[in-house]
């Protein structure tokens, strides 16, 4: 049973044109940050979401939580259509769906103490107050590896890794079921990153949490996710069980992504795919398959036709016109 189902979700940012621009007929500018994304996450599962910078990962995460109002599509959480909830019920729902942010510096209010920050959900949802709230807060802090004695300190008195723990504690204090982790380790040093990953896995195991884990680092996703979705310019190009996708990537973008990851293993014998050019701007994305401008396998049809998502294996699907041909960039080069 899936805990979360996202159906055809889109988030378009429309840039308002000024009166002057309208008068001179400047075109309306729209960023299709998330474009018709569907996915589902089972209870207790970690869904990894990877993709390059600006492809819409964060937007998708926030749209699911309705931190950014989706432009269209549905988000069904535990049987409730989150996208249709009125404000009051949405607020209640926020107890159950939480988010952990990338930047341990920007995500904590520098003017409030740890007790304030972590205890905020308790106050907002009327769960507890006063000494009771403090007790709960202290417990959660201990849970994430901090100490109760640090309750009255300010964020600047903590290191990056400790701050990230505070952020995690804040997300956990209201006992959520589902947590969006928006690149929670990208800003951290390798040695600290490992600490946080270990903590997140431990929490998931102990509390039965479900994560949407966003990252641009395939190694991290490959290490901890159960399933993975690969995003390119606002769309999911390939998704499936993590092993299946990493071992047998079928979309040329996934393939090039995988080949680009540097690895500490012995000198690589892996082939390298060289993509041409840069990511197109989401302001005027290419027509047809959005990857065709950089795809070594692109054919004429790719420029005009939007590829359908097709199943490849159990729970594994990809959107590419040349899927059936069984071509692989990796093998090609080899």
């Amino acid at each position: 049973m899936s805990l979360l189902r996202v159906e055809n979700l889109s988030k378009h940012y429309v840039f308002n044109r000024s009166l002057g621009q309208r008068l001179t007929g400047a075109p309306q500018r729209v960023v299709r940050a998330v474009n018709g994304v569907s996915l589902s996450v089972k209870k207790g599962e970690i869904l990894g979401l990877i993709g390059e910078s600006g492809c819409g990962k964060s937007t998708l995460g926030r749209a699911i939580l309705r931190l950014h109002e989706p432009s269209s599509g549905r988000v069904v959480f535990d049987g409730t259509d989150v996208t249709a909830l009125p404000a009051a019920e949405l607020k209640a729902m926020r107890r159950r769906m939480q988010i952990i942010f990338q930047d341990p510096y920007a995500s904590l209010n520098p003017r409030r103490t740890v007790a304030d920050i972590v205890g905020l959900p308790l106050a907002l949802h009327g769960i507890a107050s006063g000494a009771e709230a403090r007790r709960i807060t202290a417990e959660v802090l201990e849970r994430v590896g901090l100490r109760a004695s640090q309750l009255d300190r300010y964020p600047h008195q903590f290191s990056g890794g400790q701050r990230q723990r505070i952020g995690i504690a804040r997300a956990l204090v209201s006992n959520p079921d589902f947590v969006v982790c928006d690149e929670p380790v990208s800003a951290l040093d390798v040695s600290i990153q490992a600490q946080i990953i270990a903590l997140l896995l431990e929490l998931k195991r102990d509390l039965g949490l479900t994560y949407l884990f966003i990252s641009h680092d395939i190694s991290v996703i490959g290490y901890l996710a159960d399933r993975v979705a690969v995003m390119y310019l606002g769309e999911i190009v390939e998704s499936g069980p993590v092993i299946s996708v990493l071992e047998n990537p079928r979309h040329p973008y996934t393939q090039s992504l995988l080949s680009a990851v540097p690895d500490v293993g012995p000198r690589r014998s892996r082939p390298r795919v060289r993509l041409q050019g840069d990511l197109p701007s989401p302001l005027n994305p290419p027509a047809g398959c959005k990857f065709h401008t950089r795809c070594p396998l692109a054919v004429a049809a790719c420029k005009t036709l939007v590829p359908e998502k097709r199943a490849i294996g159990p729970d594994h699907s990809a959107a590419c016109h040349r899927l059936e041909e069984g071509l692989s960039l990796l093998e090609d080069v080899r």
Partner: protein, 335 residues
């Protein structure tokens, strides 16, 4: 710069101008003191004559009608007759405006040419004696009441040392044909170098008095932004390229450091234009500011309305100009 942005600027101007004129209008209307009474003063006047005068000045109309008429006329650059001057307001203002603009511009130039090098130098020699002196100087500059400073300058340079004139725009021995109204330009057009020098001498003290606070502010802005820029990666990278120091400072640092200076200068110039009646009064400078203050006391409504509108337009235009300058300095911003 795109046509759209230009259009937009013009469209933005409309509510500002309407708002400004509405405020002046309401303000003047609510101000006690009857213009007719003030005109007549101590002389006797029959009620019929008074009514006649009132009608001539349009004061017998309801306020809303007067406002609409004012707006309608203003669109055609018709600002009515000045009660006191017996001439169109536009003419009266046009005669005074060049003096005010000239003074403000020279003050601005004085401020810019002293503030920028001083600010840069203070930033480069951060924490040096020079930097400290400059900082104290700039603090003094913003702490001195302008009128007091002006009078002190007159006492020193005009009365005691007698090396600069007390008041006015130019002496009366030189005749300068009016072309632009800006004496510094007109004297040059006339090829009269000694008159140019004279005009400059007359300008010096008022320009310094007017420009001083601005110099102080701009110097601090330049210093701060220069220090900020010097911390940027691109300065380190320029150093890493082994460029001569001069090039690093002036091509790489200064151009970026001037960006905040320009926008502050634009705002300050606005207040300079609107705020120089004090300097005009102290130095007998025949500018618009003094005229407007007198006109408020005389309830010379048409003149006040037109002048305030003019200030508003100037302010908006100045900021527009600053925006253009901004894009020249900062290609990231597209107008």
């Amino acid at each position: 710069m795109s046509l759209g942005k230009l259009l937009e600027r013009i469209i933005q101007l409309i509510p500002v101008l309407l708002g400004v004129s509405l405020i002046v209008f309401v303000m003047l209307a609510l101000t006690p003191g009857d213009p007719v009474q003030i005109m007549v003063g101590e002389q006797s006047i029959t009620p019929e004559q008074e009514a006649e005068l009132r009608r001539e000045l349009g004061l017998d109309r309801p306020l809303a009608e007067r406002f609409l008429r004012f707006v309608a006329d203003a669109v055609r650059f018709d600002f009515g007759q000045s009660y006191y001057h017996g001439r169109p307001v536009a003419d009266v203002i046009a005669e005074r405006l060049p003096a005010t603009i000239e003074l403000s511009l020279v003050a601005l130039i004085v401020a810019l040419v002293t503030a920028i090098p001083l600010g840069v130098l203070a930033a480069i020699r951060k924490n040096s004696v020079f930097d400290r002196l400059a900082t104290i100087g700039s603090l003094l500059g913003v702490s001195l009441p302008g009128f007091w400073f002006g009078i002190l300058l007159i006492m020193l340079f005009a009365v005691h040392l007698q090396i600069l004139p007390v008041s006015g725009r130019i002496g009366y021995s030189s005749e300068v044909p009016t072309v632009t109204g800006f004496l510094l330009i007109d004297t040059l057009v006339a090829g009269n170098v000694s008159a140019f020098g004279e005009a400059l001498r007359y300008l010096l003290l008022p320009a310094i008095t007017l420009g001083l606070p601005m110099t102080a502010i701009l110097m601090r802005v330049t210093r701060t932004s220069m220090l900020e820029v010097m911390r940027q990666d691109y300065i380190t990278f320029a150093e890493a390229k082994g460029l001569p120091r001069r090039l690093v400072l002036y091509r790489h640092a200064l151009k970026n450091a001037l960006i905040p200076t320009v926008s502050v200068a634009a705002i300050e110039t606005g207040s300079l234009l609107g705020g120089n009646m004090i300097v005009e009064t102290v130095f007998g400078w025949p500018g618009l500011g003094r005229l407007v203050v007198e006109s408020i006391f005389l309830r010379n409504y048409p003149l006040v309305q037109a002048a305030v509108l003019l200030y508003a337009v100037t302010y908006v235009l100045l900021n527009f100009l600053a925006d253009i300058l901004y894009t020249l300095l900062n290609p990231r911003v597209k107008l």
